[in-house]
């Protein structure tokens, strides 16, 4: 019988945390570069956010002559309201096509209009028809990538949750501390490089679209390990998501239903959105683009209607779809038609009746700050995908996360393999630190009395949704920050786990996740207080205008337990760097 302090020591060149497309693409690239790779999945390997995605893929494929790399770049920067890391955005644009072909090589069949012509459409925020897709959506993408993992014999550890990145005396990565949740035993993967590809942190919100495992573990782990975060005040909310049934609440309802004819024609109108009084409230917010506006504007408009009491009893608003696009919708997105049928009924599935929609937390725009090869400021620590920040800036184009995770997943894998070759194998350096950490992380298991993690998680989610969500204001943000600090100091030390079985102990896992969620909640609240403007997905009622002075990024790092927020000029942009590293805040 394993005891709390038993740790199994294993070795690898590259440890990849996360089984979504970014993680798998990183593992494939690192393996192909000659590294010995281990991929960790917190749940079963298919439990990831990529699989839930619509799988839309923005790319300049050459099939729309009006479009070009510069237009895609401009769209991305415009959507990100200028604070994207321009260098990363440029890489995304330049490499998206090669990675789309990689997926096809892996076995994915992009939708086609002719044998050699991809089917293209528009998604949220873009100005050109450029988005590829496949009927199997994110499911197909993850399946073909899993087959590539199998083909290479890359080791995948299901139910293995990364809890900490351990550094050696010189500050370099020595490995990852991991709990095997299926057995309740600890493993220390001694490795010179760790890639964080654990996805976003949408679970911070009461209503979210992503999977329940997206608790921002990797981002918080990187922060604890000394890496910097960037843009964490930005969370993307999708305007169009399911309102009921309970279980599906918040799940993205996809854009073709909402976009209607605009799905194929940038000049066409999108489906009207009506409040419970039958008013087209979006006209107040964007009289020009109307319902064809960007995700951030629509999500905010809907949320304000709901908050001001003009929502439906279920907490949504009505979307009036165009039945004329039904055939195209059914052909392109049968999985969503099925969900509409099951959740709402046949008239809604046929786009013949109003559909209730609500905004929901979709995508973590910020994350670990990376360079063009996905390296963080900690030697040996890399990040890619939703866990990394900077590519999309203040708001993301619909269909840009799929190329992001492919492009930067591959870059992270290649760079990690290189770094691992150059580094000395860390051996069992860090094992003692890991052992000490295990004792801390096992504490809730020993406590007889206290608070269940589920209850605390619910409180955090409510606070985030109400005060650090779509609509933010100084006093509420400060109040939330104090609440998070209080939870961390007074409640976290009292967490208890009902069952002491070490096998698949969900409460124990939730207690580990909760520490990560709280770290990020704190960082998000602290940066939100600092950013005194409204930009993209970020809306402050007390600063409702976009301020050119704030065309800048906020970086977050932790120094001896304190969260430090710094304002920096946008990386790689044409504007001269102001080098304004003014340390503007110190929270907690």
């Amino acid at each position: 019988m394993a005891t709390a302090s038993d740790i199994f020591l294993e070795h690898a060149d590259v440890v990849v945390a996360g089984s979504g497309a970014a993680g798998m693409r990183a593992a494939i690239a690192a393996h192909d570069a000659g590294a010995n790779v281990v991929l960790l999945a917190k749940g079963p390997r298919r439990a990831n956010h990529t699989r839930m995605s619509g799988g839309r893929y923005n790319v300049v494929s050459g099939l729309n002559p009006a479009d070009g790399n510069d237009a895609f770049f401009r769209d991305t920067i415009d959507s990100g309201v200028g604070i994207n890391n321009h260098e990363l955005t440029r890489i995304l644009v330049d490499e998206a096509l090669a990675r789309a072909y990689d997926l096809e090589e892996y076995g994915l069949a992009w939708d086609r209009t002719e044998a050699d012509k991809y089917y293209m459409s528009m998604t949220g925020g873009g100005t050109y028809v450029r988005t590829l897709g496949s009927i199997d959506e994110g499911i197909g993408i993850t399946e073909v990538m899993l087959h590539q993992m199998h083909k290479r014999g890359i080791r995948i550890c299901d139910f293995h949750m990364l809890t900490d990145v351990i550094r050696d005396g010189g500050g370099c990565v020595a490995g990852g501390l991991v709990i095997d949740l299926s057995k309740g035993v600890w493993r220390f993967f001694s490795a010179p490089t760790v890639i964080i590809a654990t996805g976003g942190t949408s679970q911070l919100y009461e209503t979210s679209s992503g999977p329940t495992i997206n608790t921002g573990d990797g981002i918080a782990i990187a922060l604890r390990a000394g890496a910097e975060l960037v843009d964490v005040e930005f969370m993307q909310f999708i305007p169009i998501s399911f309102v009921y049934p309970q279980g599906a609440r918040g799940y993205t309802l996809t854009e073709p239903a909402h976009y209607g004819p605009r799905h194929f024609d940038p000049n066409a109108e999108a489906a009207q959105l009506l409040n419970v009084k039958g008013e087209r409230f979006v006209l107040k917010h964007d009289p020009l683009r109307k319902e064809g506006s960007t995700r951030d504007v629509l999500a905010r408009a809907i949320m304000l209607e709901i908050l001001e009491g003009r929502g439906t009893p279920e907490g949504g608003v009505y979307m009036v779809p165009d039945p004329a696009v039904f055939d195209a919708f059914l052909r392109e997105r049968p999985i969503y038609v099925k969900r509409l049928l099951e959740n709402y009924g046949e008239p809604q599935a046929r786009l013949q009746a109003p559909i209730q929609v609500m905004p929901s937390a979709l995508y973590t725009l910020g994350g670990v700050r990376i360079d063009r090869w996905c390296r963080t400021c900690v030697p040996g620590l890399l990040a890619a995908g939703e866990a990394a920040g900077g590519v999309h800036g203040a708001n993301r184009l619909g269909g840009s996360s799929m190329p992001d995770i492919q492009v930067f997943g591959r870059r992270a894998g290649m760079a990690a393999a290189d770094d691992a070759k150059a580094a000395r194998a860390p051996g069992d350096a860090g094992l003692e630190q890991a052992r000490a950490r295990v004792a801390e992380l096992t504490a809730p298991m020993q406590r007889a009395d206290g608070v269940r993690p589920t209850e605390v998680k619910r409180r955090v989610q409510k606070l985030m949704w109400d005060h650090v969500g779509l609509v933010r204001t100084a006093n509420r943000l400060e109040e939330s920050l104090r609440a998070f600090t209080d939870l961390r100091e007074n409640v976290m030390p009292r967490l208890k786990v009902t069952n002491k079985s070490r096998v698949l102990n969900r409460e124990w896992m939730e207690s580990l996740e909760l520490a990560n969620l709280l770290d990020l909640a704190q960082a998000m609240a602290a940066t939100s207080i600092e950013r005194k403007e409204t930009r993209g997905a970020f809306y402050r009622t007390d600063f409702p205008e976009t301020d050119p002075d704030w065309t800048a990024n906020l970086w977050v790092r932790r120094e001896s337990g304190r969260v430090l927020v710094e304002k920096h000029a946008v990386a790689g942009s044409a504007t001269p760097a102001t080098a304004e590293a003014a340390r503007v805040a110190a929270a907690s």
Binding site: S134, Y251, E314, S501
Partner: protein
Amino acid sequence: MSTVASITVTAEIQRFDPSQDAEPRFESFEVSGLANMSVLDVVRSIYENQAGDLAYQFACRVGRCGTCAVRVNGRPVLACQERCKAQMRIEPLKPFPALRDLVVDRTEIESRLASFELAPLRNNAHPGQPELIAPDLAAKLCHMDSCLLCMVCVSACPAVEERPFDGPAFMLKLRHMAEHPADRRDRLDQALQGGMLECFNCDVCTQVCPADLSPAQAIRDFRRELFFGRGKEA
């Protein structure tokens, strides 16, 4: 919806911790809520309010990840998609070994999938431009590849129970590759090795599939290929 009625569900859940229990047992819970709750909603409510020690698995809660499959009143279903009913007996998916309570060990499933080498075996590298695939075939390939690998069909299949047969989902995955124009591996042979001929052609898999797929049709396509030879351009 506001018009949705309420329901009180009595759920008997199989509890089993192989590290502590000799035998599985059933524990009964009552949950009240809206009638359109899913089985997963009921299980989550039990975990959150009544049994913090319950082991269950889900991630996407919208029929995407395929990891929440259980048996409800003996029938394998996706817990997140199945609507609750007043009396439910919830058990882990058979015939897989249970890790604890409702969670099964998928190790053997994954190694079987890996052994099928489902990546396309190509003669030539990808052309670096859209590969030639007819639009209808592309749609068909995608449809087949929307299989969740949730194992609901494998659990329901009578041939898996009675005969040496890997199961419907595996045959569907092989068929997906058999239809892929770039793949050069002999998928029919692999299907035969996997027990394809043991299938009763009863379409239970077609009926229970939560993704509207028909593994039985994939098997019929393989059998037709066995009689009449390969339809795909060699």
